[in-house]
Symmetry: C2
Subunit: 263 residues, 2 copies
DNA sequence: TTTAATCTTGACTAATAGTCACGAGCTATG
DNA sequence: CATAGCTCGTGACTATTAGTCAAGATTAAA
């Protein structure tokens, strides 16, 4: 092993350490509690060293967000090749995303942070582009599914277009996770157990979200309709098969480790 | 006029000044650009004086958010007494909310800020409760509409409950406005005109959102279905009648002034 | 006019983001 | 092995921030 590559490896190892520690800090203390000073102290490096890796704290956040999203996408992708109708594959992929969200409650909170415009604007151009590229990739995959559905005749678009449908499904998911703040924490103090929203989402938020998605797809008249096919049974089946590993983690009360992408 | 009440009035006037100036600062510079030091300099009072009114900057933000939400609710309420089927009234109220959002692009951005948990946690208990109470009020109104629809038979719930429907409609609205960052600004530099999301929401995001809501309501089988009733025509009609004043403002390129609630 | 109460102030502390000149220690070469 | 040169980690530094509070200014009451 050459000297250059050893140094390079050391650099990447340190980047890993920065990201892993930041991930933990964000989980424990939220966006406001996450500071570069504290981070530097925790990893036992000087502040300047951290800035050799990332140009601002928002970039660290976005890098983690990016990697987590990538990880989630790979889980969603498990549904792609299943021998099922298009709509069923879509439902299975969403249920995968939902399981993932429970295993990494950090992700949707970071997504919300990223949506605050003045925070997003601090992110470096490079990471913004990567972020955008990833979103685009996930849309293209979705678009392909829609195309297959149109070809098979299970879906007929009346005035809708695949981008609108994509946006709506994304909205429902983002909206739900933004409304239901519970589960995991962005900040340890002052949880919301007394809030009204929490009180009306008594029963099963998971099932409610799934129903909402299905109701929307029914409205699109995407066959088979939920009256013709038991999508809940499908999700339960998927939890036991395609996502058996994740279901096991959930049962054990485990969470996802953060893993950076460029190792 | 007694001396006490004159002092009281002066205090409230200053509170107005603080809120109006903060509103403008938030519009121009976003959450991160909004600082108490700058605010104090702008209104020509010492920093300590500002803290006599609000315990932290998040409280100022939330007070503005609260007042704006109240203002929006009064607009949504215009649809309540219309002589129309329940679903139509719902659609009209949503279109009112959408028009309002355009006239006060600050509102949905502040909503997103409030959803960042570590920011929300800095808000005083009192304002949190007011916030919650308002949400509850808007839900109760929605619940009433649902009850009427159930009584009239235009809607039949199969496994859904009104809270789920409320959450979903809210989610779609929040999700959409969070995805479409354009329009107004949270921070003047570095807009997103080059982002992928912007590029797929080429045509008319407004119409897309309206279609999504209707598709979901169709999925619920809420009569009349969008195939039986022209909801777009209804919205256009509403823009010209119930919301004629707002439509005129939009046409003139005006925005909503901020008005505090406790005058 | 004097006293008492109230309100406003800005200097102060503590924390924060981000920079950069310095020098420790590593590398290459004779 | 010595030394020159260079890389890269460092933490003191600047500038900005939130939030506090003793002291002084202003006003009211006697």
């Amino acid at each position: 092993m050459s000297i250059a590559s050893r140094k390079e490896r050391e650099f990447k190892d340190r980047e890993q350490l920065i990201l892993k520690t930041s991930f933990k800090m964000l989980l424990d203390e939220g966006y406001i509690g996450f500071t570069i000073d504290k981070l530097a102290k925790k990893i036992d490096y000087a502040k300047g060293t951290v800035y050799k890796h990332f140009s601002c704290k928002e970039d660290i956040l976005m890098k983690i967000l990016l990697d987590s999203s990538e990880q989630r996408m790979s889980i969603i992708d498990r549904a792609v090749d299943l021998d099922l109708p298009e709509r069923s594959r879509l439902i299975v992929s969403f249920s995968g995303a939902r399981i993932y969200n429970k295993l990494n409650p950090n992700l949707h909170k970071m997504l919300l942070i990223a949506r605050v415009e003045s925070i997003w604007n601090k992110v470096s151009r490079e990471i913004k582009l990567t972020h955008d590229e990833m979103l685009q990739r996930s849309y293209l995959r979705f678009d392909q599914l829609i195309a297959t559905a149109l070809a098979s005749g299970s879906l007929v678009l009346n005035g809708h277009c695949s981008a609108d449908i994509f946006l709506t499904l994304l909205s429902i998911n983002i909206g739900y996770s933004s409304l239901l703040r519970g589960g995991g924490s962005d900040n340890l103090q002052g949880k919301f157990h007394d809030s009204f929203i929490d009180s009306i989402v008594i029963s099963d938020a998971d099932r409610a979200l799934s129903m909402s998605l299905n109701t929307y797809l029914d409205g699109l008249n995407w066959r088979p309709l939920s009256s013709e096919y038991d999508y809940f049974a499908l999700e339960e089946e998927a939890a036991k098969t395609v996502y058996s590993d994740l279901t096991a983690m959930l049962a054990k009360g485990e969470f996802f480790e953060y893993v950076s992408n460029n190792l």
